[in-house]
């Protein structure tokens, strides 16, 4: 048999084989593969907020979503630019007995050193923050022995303005920049007998949401320093519950406001706040408004975990993604309750890093 005949015969044998291989490849290429359900779309900032994990925050401390490693108690914090402003308060070496009448999860500030306001820089590549340094502590008579509930805004000229709460009300301090040194503005509170300031700026001026007597009010100002109370208690009641045995809401605290926009609305004011209930629990929820005065309330909490959530403070990323800094109940190694500062994201399916590998 000549070589050419062998080659021809081999070619004849290969032709159907090639066709079979080609058909198999084409057939397998079009086999059905399951695709994921459509991604959720959340443009309303309502949540639910997913706590970031350690690969996104750079913080491994419990609970999940921890935004800063702190050894002391935290009343929550807020983000401005690449800085996190929060309360710094270390446990006393010899704390007094727990104050009677407090709820089991309630922080007993008497067992901690006086509260001060600290600033922490962001961990590069993460949404968590390093250790804070104190930028403001109480030393004015009207402040009592503690300053807390910080809220910082960046002014158009680059200055940073810090609103904070103290015993006598809400005060103001300013710094040349977000990382600059803060000095007090004025010699007294800009709003007496109030706490939990949250200030947003718009073309019309400054709006401050604050808490007073278990309600959230609204004060406005043209310069952000001299405020006039416009609404003492905003209407933020939840829609009627379908569950007749659901606990009733007793008071609203710790507002956190942000102007956002959607494809349909140039601006929506989202007001996050803490609601306390008659069964001793509390939760972070929110309401939204087009004018900052008349709100539509969300019935559910913005955080779906089992722990109570509170002190919500929103932060919008440039793409509109909402980060929410809030606190959830936790207990220290000494069983002392404290409110751990955490950060969540909405839309909840968004990720900033691959999830941690489970061992």
């Amino acid at each position: 048999m000549s070589a050419s005949k062998i080659t021809k015969r081999s070619r004849r044998a290969w032709t159907p084989l090639r066709a079979l291989v080609l058909a198999s490849i084409l057939g397998c290429a079009s086999l059905g593969a399951e695709t994921a359900f459509p991604d959720p779309v959340q443009t309303s900032g309502v949540g639910p907020f997913r706590p970031l994990d350690s690969t996104e925050t750079g913080i491994t401390a419990e609970p999940v979503g921890r935004v800063q490693e702190t050894t002391g108690a935290s009343g929550g914090g807020m983000r401005a630019g690449d800085f996190f402003f929060s309360v710094e308060s270390q446990p006393l070496a010899e704390p007094p007995a727990r104050t009677p009448g407090l709820l089991p999860t309630q922080v007993d500030w008497a067992r901690f050193a006086p509260r001060r306001i600290a600033r922490a820089a962001i961990r590069e590549g993460f949404h968590g923050f390093g250790a804070g340094t104190v930028v403001l502590e109480a030393n004015e008579a009207w402040e009592g022995d503690a300053v807390f509930d910080p809220w910082v805004i960046a002014l158009p000229d680059g200055r940073a303005r810090l609103y904070y709460a103290a015993e006598g009300g809400i005060g103001v301090a300013e710094a040349p920049s977000l990382d600059g040194t803060f000095t007090r503005v004025g010699d007294g509170p800009v709003l007496a007998d109030a706490a939990g300031p949250s200030v947003v700026a718009s073309e019309e001026g400054f709006s401050m949401y604050f808490e007073r007597d278990g309600a959230i009010g609204l004060a406005t100002s043209s310069d952000g320093l001299a405020f006039t109370v416009e609404i003492e208690a905003l209407t933020l009641d939840a829609p009627p519950s379908e569950d007749p045995e659901a606990p009733g809401e007793t008071s609203f605290h710790r507002p956190g406001a942000v102007w956002a926009s959607t494809v349909a609305h140039d601006r929506i004011l989202r007001l996050y706040f803490e609601v306390r209930r008659d069964d001793g629990t509390f939760a972070a929820t929110m309401a939204a408004s087009l004018d900052g005065r008349d709100f539509e309330r969300l019935a559910a909490p913005v955080y779906g975990g089992e722990e109570s959530s509170g002190a919500p403070a929103p932060f919008l990323l440039p793409d509109g993604t909402t980060l929410l800094h809030f606190t959830i109940d936790a207990r220290g190694t000494n069983r002392e309750p404290f409110r751990a500062p955490v950060v969540g994201v909405a839309p909840s399916f968004l990720r900033f890093a691959d999830p941690p590998v489970e061992e």
Binding site: P38, D39, P40, V41, S44, T262, V263, S289, R297
Partner: protein
């Protein structure tokens, strides 16, 4: 040798009196066929059927005579010039976005097979036709609706179905063809039964549970019918009707469990949902031939979308404990269907075909088509998020016919191809509630597709 450019529509004339009587009887037939009926869903409703029909924007009801008549107008089967076998492939790629993010809508690839078998008995021609679309990724898919997740309802799962249709047609006189048939689909009913003993102290070690799973895919049929009239040698018109179809899913989970041998826990989960709906629809079509080599088709299709049932599942969840050693709530949950508020649509179509080359051996047709489909879905202001938009679809195609193949093939061989582009006009969904979980968003995009079909016809 001169050939009729459109062999299925040779010049014929008939007296006006006969036309009048025929028209009256056909109107009665049409009225009968247009009576509402319940049936079920197909991918051609989304993408059409057949390469020539797609290239002509679907405007073929008046004079279709190839295997795609099984979907577009069964009457056209009897106008076929001989036995035809067609096999083709369709490949459509969606590029659909919500708020600038690409949505996870699958490509649609399907094998298309069609057959026409006419028989002449005396002067009467009868024909049998079969149409099959066999998606190459999955034969059927059902996905429950999560109201908080925007979904491209018209493109996500609708096409993931087999389409099978069988039709009969008759041509009693030369100028008239009438056809009817049925298409098949299957809904599903699933039952999960759990029985046994449940130990609360150590459930994993001491529980004894057994389960039984039953699935039932029952065949459901829905009608299609139509007629074609060739009024003159340059004008024909046709009317076709397809029935409504609703593919429902029912899932029942029953648990009957002895708890610690002291009580019986009864649990019932009963969900009912509509996974796919196709509205009843009627197409009125005209085909003009101002010159022998030019054919212009105009068509309008009515879709009864307002009859669309809710896509939100209804659920009933019941819990019982016998004896009632502890208090348990009876009806512990569930939800009701949410009306979708769809409206009827009228879809205009136009298709132009020009025979650019005509020799004894080869014919080359060039085709262009267009249709506009306004979305039946309203802007999603409430809790539902069924994303859709008005659709402009443009297509171009060709048909290359080799006619001088004897003695190898006593007939012709035809290759049809097309490119298709659908533009889904961007639409902004503004929610009534400022605290809606999804919020406001925009949605729009494109679909690009192509297809190739080989048709063999025997005289």
């Amino acid at each position: 040798m001169t050939k009729n450019p459109h062999p299925t529509t040779s010049p014929r004339t008939l007296p006006d009196s006969i036309r009048l009587r025929a028209s009256a009887s056909l109107a009665a037939l049409a009225a009968l066929l247009l009576a509402p009926s319940l049936a079920h869903a197909t991918p051609p409703d989304t993408y059409g059927f057949g390469a020539r029909a797609r290239a002509l924007g679907g405007a073929v009801t008046a004079d279709v005579s190839d295997s795609s008549a099984s979907y577009h107008n069964p009457a056209g089967l009897a106008a076929s010039e001989g036995i035809q076998l067609a096999v083709g492939y369709v490949d459509l790629h969606p590029f659909l976005d919500i708020d600038g993010e690409r949505s996870s809508v699958e490509r649609f690839g399907t094998l298309e097979v069609g057959m026409v078998a006419p028989v002449k008995v005396g002067n009467v021609i009868t024909a049998f036709g079969l149409g099959l679309m066999l998606p190459d990724q999955r034969l059927a898919r059902t996905r429950s609706t999560i109201v908080t997740r925007p979904r491209w309802e018209m493109y996500d799962t609708r096409s993931q179905r087999i389409f099978l249709a069988a039709n009969l047609a008759i041509r009693p006189v030369e100028w008239l063809t009438i056809g009817a048939g049925i298409a098949f689909q299957a809904p599903s009913e699933l039952t999960l039964d759990i029985r046994g003993d449940l130990a609360l102290d150590d459930p994993e070690a001491n529980s004894r549970l057994e389960h039984q799973f039953k699935g039932d895919l029952t065949s459901i049929r829905y009608p299609a019918a139509g007629f074609q009239i060739e009024a003159t040698d340059w004008l024909s018109f046709g009317l076709s009707y397809r029935g409504e179809y609703t593919l429902a899913n029912r899932i029942v989970a029953l648990a009957d469990v002895r708890v610690m041998r002291i009580a019986t826990l009864e649990f019932l989960l009963d969900t009912f949902s509509t996974s796919l709906f196709g509205p009843q629809q009627a197409s009125l079509s005209f085909a003009f031939r101002p010159i022998p080599d030019l054919r212009i088709g105009l068509e309008v299709t009515w879709y009864d979308w307002s009859a669309h049932p809710s896509l939100i599942p209804t659920e009933e969840i019941v819990l019982g404990l016998d004896p009632p050693i502890v208090e348990v709530p009876g009806n512990i949950g569930g939800r009701s269907a949410i009306p979708l508020g769809l409206h009827d649509t009228f879809v205009p179509r136009i298709g132009v075909e020009y025979t650019a080359v005509r020799t004894d051996a080869v014919e080359l047709d060039l085709r262009v088509g267009y249709y506009y489909e306004n979305s039946p879905f309203p802007v999603q202001r409430g809790t539902t998020n069924f994303v859709d938009g008005d659709e402009h679809t443009t297509s171009i195609g060709f048909g290359l016919r080799l006619t001088d193949l004897e003695p190898t093939l006593p007939g012709h061989l035809q290759i049809n191809g097309y490119l298709l582009w659908s533009r889904i006009v961007e639409r902004t969904h503004v929610k009534d509630s400022l605290v809606d979980a999804v919020g406001d968003y925009t949605a729009g995009g494109d679909l690009l597709g192509l297809g190739l079909q080989l048709e063999v016809a025997f005289r």
